[in-house]
């Protein structure tokens, strides 16, 4: 879906993060190369502890790499001061977390408008946009609820609205369905499909194969490194599985 010749919204080269754990250096992220093109959805899968969340944190500036380079919207991140990086991040990246990370003391709509206020939008404009997004995500009727009054699915919708408020180039999602039941997972998948249709770029770290299978590309990580890279292709073809679900095993005719 990426524009031909379009530059990636984010590109990482040789990204490395080393933690010291009990005096031993652990390469949580070990020389990862990765690019997300405009309009593309990329999933990252791997066993827990493989470094997929650490990778996401590096890309989103929640943590700093020990080596390697990140280019976000054509700008090298390494040379930036902490402040410029924070500004660039707020304007270009929206985060969605497993545990929603909504501010407990704020209502749904206040949570959504917060990132807009942080980049200097007027209160009126921020509120207008927040309400618009809550409507789009089907949770407008929850706008004045506190987070503890929201279901998991509703909380994640509010969190996605918050991630979208500054029209980010890229959404980074860390196990977005990790705390959701099957039905709410289905709702979030539907939501992501709508976002993709509108041209949104997404990088989704997940252990949920249902989520991963809907991406354009799938990266598999192990021990901090990307060990597999699969193009899942465009629109899923209708084939064997659906046919199998309508196979009654008595196709031989009347018995």
């Amino acid at each position: 879906m990426s524009a031909p010749g379009g530059r990636p919204v984010v590109e990482a080269t040789g990204l490395t993060r080393i933690y010291a754990a009990d005096g031993v250096a652990v390469r949580a992220v070990d020389g990862v190369d990765l690019a997300v093109e405009a309009g593309e959805t990329v999933s990252v899968m791997g066993p827990s502890g493989c470094g997929k969340s650490s990778l996401l944190h590096l890309l989103g500036g929640l943590d700093r790499a020990d080596a390697g380079e990140i280019v976000l919207d054509g700008r090298r991140v390494e040379g930036l001061s902490e402040t410029s990086w924070a500004v660039l991040r707020r304007r270009t990246i929206g985060f969605v977390f497993q545990s929603f990370n909504l501010v407990d003391e704020l209502t749904a709509v206040e949570n959504v408008e917060l990132p807009a206020l942080l980049v200097g939008a007027s209160a009126r404009r921020a509120r207008h946009r927040a309400v618009e997004l809550l409507e789009r995500l089907g949770v407008a009727d929850r706008r004045d609820h506190m987070p503890d009054r929201l279901s998991g699915g509703e909380s994640q919708r509010v969190a996605v609205a918050r991630a979208l408020i500054n029209d980010p180039l890229l959404i980074l999602a860390d196990e977005p369905t990790g705390n959701l039941d099957s039905r709410a997972t289905g709702e979030i998948l539907r939501l992501f499909a709508d976002l993709r249709a509108s041209g949104q770029s997404l990088l989704v770290v997940t252990h949920d194969a249902r989520v991963a299978s809907t991406a354009d590309r799938l990266l598999t990580m192990r021990d901090g490194a990307v060990i597999g890279h699969t193009h899942l292709g465009g629109v899923a073809p209708v084939g064997s599985v659906l046919a199998g679900l309508a196979d009654f095993g008595d196709a031989g005719g009347a018995r």
């Binding site: 099957s182 998948l189 194969a209 809907t214 699969t230 899923a236 064997s240």
Partner: protein, 172 residues
């Protein structure tokens, strides 16, 4: 049972009771439910189909004097079976035995087999998810698809566990 028996013969010729032992061991507790005669019946059919050759060994005092061996056609059939990814026609039990047979006989890297099967299941899941997304959220037809998606998801999780275990075993 034909394909697993063939694959377990790939390492070396074996007596029927040895094959049965290999199968029971590979299956774990479910192997105890195996009908003892079933292996012999299957071997007989495989001989008839030209996939297995049987040789009488006379000098042994053991009552089981037949040694079974894969024919060239049998080897081809094993290679085909290893490459067959058509889940759920390839059942979890089939797949489990496939990994063991492949590792024992050095026919293929179990981790590569798991990876290929995982990709096929992801492709299937993508197909199901794609169909779910074009259904209205509360359609009754969607419920059937939801079940298919959850089963595939569970199967993929099992393959991930398989991959981790086989990686651990290959390091040791």
């Amino acid at each position: 049972m034909r394909d697993p028996i063939l694959a377990l013969l790939a390492k070396e010729p074996a007596h029927g009771y040895e094959l049965r032992q290999r199968l029971v061991q590979a299956l774990g507790p479910p192997g105890r439910a195996l009908n003892p005669g079933q292996v012999y019946v299957t071997l007989g059919r495989l001989v008839k189909a030209g996939l297995v050759a049987v040789e009488q060994v006379g000098q042994s005092s053991h009552p089981d004097k037949k040694v079974y061996e894969l024919t060239a056609a049998g080897r081809d059939r094993v290679a085909e079976w290893l490459a067959d990814l058509s889940w759920p026609k390839v059942t979890p039990t089939d797949f489990h035995l496939k990994l063991i047979a492949a590792a024992v006989a050095g026919l293929a890297d179990p981790v590569a087999l798991i990876d290929a099967q995982r990709h096929e299941l992801l492709r299937q899941l993508r197909e199901v998810q794609g169909a779910i997304l074009v259904e209205p959220p509360d359609s009754r037809g969607g419920l059937l698809l939801e079940g298919a998606a959850l089963r595939l998801q569970a199967d993929i999780r099992w393959l991930e566990v398989c991959e981790q275990r086989w990686l651990d075993w290959s390091i040791r």
